[in-house]
Amino acid sequence: MAGRVKILLSKLGLDVHNRGIITVAKALRDAGMEVIYLGNSLPEEIIKSAIQEDVDVIGVSSLGGAHLTLGSKLIEGAKREGIKDRVMFTIGGVFSSTDAEKLQQIGFDEVFEPGATREEIVSSILEFISSKAGR
C-alpha cells in the first residue's frame, strides 16, 4: 500500500466525551497513519474538511445519542458530494447493537461498539483500505 493512510477524526455534534476519540487518534498515529482531528463538528464541516484534506477515512465518535440523526446526515452529505465510495466511513461511541446494525445499513463501513480494542480498530481500517485498493 503506497503512502500513509490519511484519516479525519471528529466528535459528532456537541458530544462532550473525547476520551475514546483521543485514544483512537493516538493509536492510529502510532500505527503510522496521518491523523487530522477536528474536535466537535457537524456533518457538513466534516465533509468539507475531508474533501479539503483529501482523506482516505473519516472516523466519528458519538456518545450523546445522536449517532443516527447526525450519522445519517454525514452519509447523506458524503453521497451528495460524491465521496461516499472513495472514503471509508467509521463510527464509534455508545449505542445499542440494534442501532449499530442500522448504522451499517445507513452506510458506515465499520461500526465500533464499546469495548473495541485499538488493535481491532487499526487492523479493520487497514484491511478495509487495502482490500479496496486491491479491487
Binding site: N18, I22, G64, P114, E119
Partner: protein
C-alpha cells in the same frame, strides 16, 4: 511560586508536628508483635507469598497502590486514636461528619434523570419520587450543557438526547411542573460555571414566578471550572481566568441570596471518569476548592461564610477498599486544610460533604447485567466511606440513558443497602481496621502531595492553562487502555470468563419523538411573546457587567426573568471574554 508563601502541605506539616500525640499501642506490645510477625513471615508464610508480599489491584481508574498481604498494628505504630480518628461528628471527622451518620439521616438517593423535553423528564422525576427517591437530579442535554439553543443549527439532531432540553425559564417551569420547589432538594446538574450562571438564574426566576422565596430553596449546582475547561470537548471555550471568576461569582451570589443552596460541588467524578486516578481526582478538587476560598477571602468574605456550604462529588469505582479509604482520607484532609490552613472557626466549614456517582467507565457493554453487581459494590463502598448522597449508575450505561427499569434497579440498589443489610446501623463500621487505617493514611499523603504539586506550579487555574492536567489525563487513559487490552485489568465477561455464545440483548431506552420540533416551537413562541426590548437591554447590561468584572449573577437573573434564552446569554459571555483554545490532548 510568585511569593515566598508556604504551601498547604508545608503549613499542615508544621501545625501537625506541633500536636501532642498519645500512641494507642503499647511499645512493648508492638515490639512483641514485631518479633512474632517477622517469625510468622519467615516460617508460616510461604516463599512465594513472601516474595510477592505486595500485590497491586488493577482496576479501571484505580490508583495502583500496592497492598500488603496482611495488615497489623505494625502498619500504623504511632496510631493516636483521638488525633487520627476522633469519634464521628468530631475532629478530625475521619469517621464521619455527624455523630450518628445514617441513623440520623439516610444518604440521599438522588438518581440522575434527563431526556427529551422538560415534560418527559418531569414524568421520570415523578416516577423516581413515587418509588422512594429522596432527591432530584436533572441532567441536561448536550446543546443545553454546551449552551446553545435548541433551534441553533449546531444543536440539530441532538435536542433532548442524553439529557433534557432547557432553553428558558419557561422550560424550567415545565420541567418542575407540579413539583414543589420549597419541599424537594434539587441537584441541578449545571456542570460549568458558565452554564450555572445561565441555568440557575432560570431556576431562581421560576421560584419567583411561583412566589417561592429563594431562602426556601434547597439543592446544589456543580459550577466547576474543571468541567468547563478540562474534561469536556466543545466547540467554544472562554478563557480559564474568566471561567474561574464566574465560578466565584456563582459562589458569592448564591451564598448571599440562596442560603440553603450548595453553590459548588467540586469535581471529582467527571475528571476521574475522563481518565485519572482517584488520587488526582481528589487533589484537583481540593486544589480548586482552596483556590476558590482564597478568591472569596480576596473579595472580602469570611472563610466560614463560604466554607460551610462547600461540597464535593466523587466517582467510587471498583477497588473496594481504596474507595472506602479515600473518602475517609479526603474527609480528614479537608478538615485539616480548613482548620490549619484557613483557620476556620465553624465546625460546618470543616466537613467534607459529598455526593457520589458510581463509576460509569467501570461498567461494561458485554453482559450488561453484570453491571448491576459492579455498581452495587461501588455503592456499598461509598456507604462504608460515609457519603451524604448517591447516584448509582444503571446497567445499560454502555448503551444509552437508562430505561425506567434500569433506573429503578439503581434506586433499589441503594434502598436494599439502606433497609436490608444493617450496615447503616453502625457508624464507620470499617474504622479501626488495620488495613483501612493504613490505606487511609497512605492516600491522604498522596492527595496532599499532588495538591502541593499543583500549588507549586502557581495554583489550579495555572495548572489548567499550562496544560499540565490535560496531559496528565491523556497519558493516564492511554496507559489504562493498554492495561485493559493486555488483560492486566480484568473485566468479567469482557476479557476473562467470556460467555462463548454471548448473551441475550437487553431492552434499550428509546427517546421520545418530536422533541426537537417541540422545543423549536416553544422558543419561537417565547421569542414572539416576550418583551424584546427588555431582553435587549438585559443582555446589554449583562455584557457591561462582564466587561467590568462585576458579579454577573444579578444581571443574568434579570436576563432569565425577561425570557432570554440560554444561547443568547452565552453569546454575551463569548463576546465579552473572547474564546480560548484548550491545550491539545495528543
Amino acid at each position: 511560586m510568585p511569593e515566598e508563601k508556604s504551601t498547604t502541605k508545608e503549613i499542615l506539616q508544621a501545625k501537625l508536628a506541633d500536636q501532642e500525640r498519645i500512641p494507642l499501642y503499647n511499645s512493648k506490645a508492638l515490639e512483641k508483635l514485631r518479633e512474632e510477625f517477622d517469625q510468622w513471615k519467615n516460617t508460616v508464610v510461604g516463599k512465594q507469598d513472601r516474595e510477592n508480599w505486595y500485590a497491586t489491584p488493577h482496576t479501571i481508574i484505580g490508583s495502583e497502590i500496592p497492598r500488603e498481604m496482611l495488615y497489623t498494628p505494625l502498619n500504623n505504630p504511632g496510631f493516636d486514636c483521638m488525633q487520627d480518628l476522633g469519634n464521628s461528628g468530631q475532629e478530625p471527622f475521619t469517621r464521619g461528619i455527624h455523630a450518628n451518620m445514617y441513623r440520623g439521616r439516610e444518604f440521599t438517593m438522588r438518581q440522575l434523570t434527563g431526556f427529551g423535553g422538560p415534560e418527559d423528564t418531569n414524568k421520570r422525576m415523578k416516577f423516581m419520587l413515587e418509588h422512594g427517591a429522596t432527591g432530584l437530579n436533572p441532567l441536561f442535554d448536550l446543546p443545553t450543557i454546551q449552551m446553545y439553543d435548541s433551534d441553533d443549527p449546531i444543536s440539530e439532531g441532538q435536542v433532548g438526547m442524553s439529557g433534557v432540553a432547557i432553553d428558558s425559564v419557561e422550560d424550567m417551569d415545565l420541567l418542575f411542573k407540579d413539583i414543589p420547589l420549597d419541599e424537594v432538594t434539587v441537584s441541578l446538574v449545571t456542570h460549568y460555571p458558565s452554564n450555572t450562571a445561565i441555568l440557575f438564574p432560570m431556576y431562581l426566576a421560576l421560584a419567583e414566578r411561583r412566589g417561592i422565596p429563594w431562602d426556601k430553596l434547597r439543592g446544589s449546582v456543580q459550577n466547576d471550572i474543571t468541567l468547563e475547561e478540562v474534561v469536556r470537548s466543545g466547540p467554544e471555550y472562554i478563557p480559564p481566568q474568566d471561567c474561574f471568576r464566574i465560578q466565584c461569582d456563582n459562589i458569592e451570589f448564591i451564598r448571599q441570596n440562596v442560603p440553603q443552596w450548595n453553590f459548588v460541588t467540586y469535581n471529582g467524578y467527571n475528571l476521574r471518569e475522563f481518565g485519572t486516578s482517584g488520587i488526582t481526582e481528589m487533589a484537583v478538587a481540593v486544589a480548586n476548592a482552596i483556590g476558590s476560598i482564597e478568591d472569596m477571602i480576596k473579595r472580602g468574605h469570611d472563610v466560614d461564610w463560604v466554607a460551610e456550604r462547600v461540597a464535593f462529588f466523587w466517582s467510587p469505582a471498583s477497588d473496594f477498599f481504596e474507595e472506602v479509604a479515600r473518602i475517609r482520607a479526603v474527609r480528614r484532609l479537608w478538615y485539616r486544610i480548613m482548620k490549619y490552613r484557613f483557620n476556620a472557626k465553624s465546625t460546618r466549614s470543616m466537613w467534607m460533604r459529598c455526593h457520589v456517582q458510581t463509576s460509569g467507565v467501570s461498567l461494561m457493554r458485554q453482559e450488561p447485567l453484570n453491571n448491576i453487581i459492579r455498581a452495587a459494590y461501588h455503592a456499598l463502598a461509598s456507604v462504608f466511606g460515609g457519603v451524604q448522597s448517591l447516584h448509582v449508575d444503571s446497567y445499560d450505561e454502555a448503551y444509552s440513558v437508562p430505561t425506567e427499569e434500569a433506573a429503578l434497579l439503581s434506586l433499589r440498589t441503594q434502598q436494599i443497602i439502606q433497609a436490608e443489610t444493617g450496615v447503616t446501623e453502625v457508624v464507620d463500621p470499617l474504622g479501626g481496621s488495620f488495613y483501612v487505617e493504613a490505606l487511609t493514611n497512605d492516600i491522604e499523603g498522596r492527595i496532599l502531595d499532588e495538591v502541593d504539586e499543583i500549588e507549586r506550579m502557581g495554583g489550579y487555574v495555572a495548572a489548567i492553562e499550562k496544560g499540565w492536567l490535560h496531559r496528565k489525563i491523556a497519558d493516564h487513559f492511554y496507559r489504562e487502555q493498554s492495561m485493559i487490552e493486555r488483560g492486566d485489568i480484568k473485566l468479567v465477561g469482557y476479557n476473562i470468563y467470556k460467555a462463548p455464545g454471548g448473551v441475550p440483548p437487553i431492552e434499550v431506552f428509546q427517546y421520545p419523538e418530536g422533541v426537537e420540533e417541540r422545543q423549536k416551537a416553544r422558543l419561537a413562541g417565547l421569542r414572539k411573546r416576550r418583551d424584546n426590548e427588555k431582553v435587549g437591554s438585559a443582555l446589554a447590561e449583562l455584557g457591561e457587567a462582564c466587561k467590568r468584572k462585576k458579579n454577573i449573577l444579578p444581571y443574568s437573573v434579570e436576563c432569565a426573568r425577561v425570557g432570554c434564552s440560554e444561547g443568547e446569554i452565552f453569546k454575551v459571555f463569548k463576546k465579552a471574554y473572547g474564546l480560548w483554545k484548550p491545550p491539545m490532548l495528543w
